[in-house]
Amino acid sequence: MLRLRSTQDFSSVKAEARARFLAKDSGGKASVRSFVDESISVTKNIGAIDPRLIEDYIARGGYDALEQALFNSSPGNVIDTVKTSGLQGRGGAGFPTGLKWQFTAEASETQRYIDCNGEEGDPGLEINRMLLEGDPYRIIEGITIAAYAVGAHEGFVYLNNKYKTAADVMNSAIVNAENAGLLGEKVFGTEFSLKLKTVIGEDRYICGEETSQLSSIEGKRVEPTGKRPTVSGLYGKPTLVNNVETYANIPGIILGGGEAFSAFGTGKSKGSKMLSLSGALKIPGVVEVPMGMTLQEIIDTAGCGMKDGLGAKAILLGGPLGSIVPAQHFDTPLAYEELAKIDSGVGAGGFQVINGNENAAKVCREILRFCQEQSCGKCLSCRIGSKRLLESMDRIIEGKGSMLDMEALRRLNDYLNKTSFCALGRSVTNTLRSVMRFFPEDLDSYLSSGTSEVTI
């Protein structure tokens, strides 16, 4: 295909791509169930286009945003647009994306890096995988725009090591984008260049934590460094790290403008969020819902209600580092600030419905086991604390627990949250805290029915 050196080239390529795409009978139908306006949807191309063909992406409006950013906006304008949009990081922490870009752009060092976090270590979560496999050029376009905005010329797409297909798709997409002149040297014929490559992860949950991920890219032991990547990231240089889904939102924001994007959503939480629905729902799976939809609506609309007449007792929201939201809070909107009020969060998008027959403490134990197994071992708090936490929980659930174990849970709950080195260690106890707050009876049931003597 033609190598793009100017916007004139691009319009002719676009016209041809559109015509070809329309001539295909398969085109047009997205496979992810989306409940949001197409202008802000990040899933509209998934299933609708052939992810290996850059022409398909262009036919659907792809690279219009990059063109606009490069030719009609300064890097500062791009950052302002993202700030206006109100987009928050989709990886879990929900940090304002525009602000992160600004910090990176303002860093004193001019050698800067960009990283796309596709580790997605939450068990069962497949949001990033679907985006990477289904619409790779959208991610690349989002990264390219971000790199232009923050002044990075070298970048990495960090992939979960189970995502073999996603890696293949991304690698060929990077080559195709480079051949098309949309990546690599002289993007769109301009002076801007971005060298992008994929990095396969190490099958460790901690690789999703941004500073650990950068250590992993450098080939060092994978563990958090405690440094801010925007100041001292990859090889000590300022580095922008965003989640796959965050980058996927960028083209839509640049094209439609920050204000248009911020019209969708609620309060401070804007746009859409992809969720991975699981549990006893009639239709589980990955969906895209608008920010602000209540948890109950998500169960009823996106999940089509509960199956087999089971009741929804709670939701494990946000994966292993998330929290358990009880039914009395199902009227809470899916929004960072609203969920924070009930000590919960959106996380990376895990949405596991716990039904009336399940015990919340048992769900919590599985999570503690996962977190303990995934502790990197760097700080004493998490290394030994998560181990002792799990051991006490195991004893309680096996009916061998004592009040000492309950006391250990109580103390470690508070301690890990305050003293651990990184976000993983500090969040290990999130589910435990919600169990102790909302379902203390689930925990107590093991103690009172236990076979061992309760000693204090």
């Binding site: 460790r204 032991r221 405690g226 303990q372 197994e373 995934q374 502790s375 990197c376 071992g377 760097k378 700080c379 004493l380 708090s381 290394r383 030994i384 604390g385 998560s386 181990k387 002792r388 051991e391 006490s392 000492l404 006391e407 250990a408 103390r411 470690l412 301690y415 949250n417 305050k418 003293t419 651990s420 080195f421 500090r426």
Partner: protein, 493 residues
Amino acid sequence: MKTISLTINDKTIKTESGTTLLEAAKQAAIEIPTLCYLKEINENGVCRMCVVEVEGSNTLMASCQTQVQEGMVVQTNSQVVRDSRRTTLELLLSNHPFLCETCVSNNNCGIQKTAKDLDISMYYSVYRNSSLPFVGEKIESKPEQIADCLTYDAAKCILCRRCTSVCDKVQSVKALDLIGEGFETRITLRSERACVDCGQCITHCPTGALKELDGTTEVMAALQDPDKHVAVILDTRILGGLNELLKTKDRNLTTGQFISQLKRMGVEAVYDAAEFERESASGIAAEFRSKTKNELPLISSVCPSLVVYISERYPQLKVNLSAAATPQQIFAVKAKGCLAADHGVKPDDIYCVSISSCLAQKAEVQKGDGNHRLNAALTGREFYSMMDQAGVLPYVLKDACFDTIGLGSDADAFGADGSCVAAVVGNAAQTKSVAVSGLGNVEQALDAISADNPGYQFVELLACPGGCENGGGCIGIVTDHGESRMSVIGNAF
């Protein structure tokens, strides 16, 4: 440097930007307990003992890692902070083997010290009965040999990373590494040939997890053996650290008392290492004079760790290493000759022991040959443990003098930076020489010599930072303030 003003424990403090909270607190006479901290070498916040409360943050922050900021309000001793430290220590103890009585670090241990600082009664109640607040799987105490002279007990290891940091940053040897994850994390050797036996990891270990391969059992057996005549070459550099540990009555033992102690233990002759160091230097000086210009620079080979280091990493410079006998070799030859003649026994019955600040001599013993060979090499720590077992009250002993073979022992001690240079090169102003200690510095010097020798004719290199004074066989004193051991030992003399 900008001046930063902040509040610590309601006191206004002014300090330079870039200072850590821990150091800023110290400047204001506020002590924050630490376990892993080593100033400028190991400031990585892993032990979580030095956490403090910073206004505006809902988590506690490691003060060794957090830099001061204008207007910061810090509490170092609030209830929340004290609770956190107590839990950190209790968690640590929940995975501790409590082998204190037989531990090389007993009474010189970072854990004991912190436990005492925080709440000694808590420590002893934990120690003595079973009502631990946190209970679960413990790492089994199973010391394993991980290098020629080095053993590691994962059960005692608190993963403070002082060893890896010293090995990486000070020595630039990069022999030690972390392996495994989470609860299974351990210290390991990067590759079999990586370690050069300098022993700095041992002197910086706060818990006795790393220690030398034991040589005391064999020496004790030789002392008991009526057919063996034990001769010792004593390096007085270890005595400062020993006195630090032994000091109970504000009184140091004299060198003469240490000699008497050795004699009481059954040693027949005790020689001053300095005597042989001088003789070895004369040998190097003679060798130096005999070299042609093309054969220079001559690199002194008195430091056995350095010899291994050059053989492994700079094989092209092996030809430059001095072939003169080391002090230990001279001692072994002379002792086996003279003593055997004196007693009318075979040279093989003379059992030669070096007690020194050098760990690498142990490796030399393993590799040495024939009459040049020491039978055993002990470190300061091992000598201390033997003194404990000897059943002697050293404080009432009378001073004894060093035995001599020929030369007399008023020699100056060698092994400090430049001492060998001084002896070999003397006052010859035309000779260009350099003395470097600490393998991190040595690496730079050797790189320079390999690349483009800047005209050096004689080069003295010592593996340990500051020379043998801070050798890996010295006793590393666990300090209150996380200063690197070198400065502390320096002050002890």
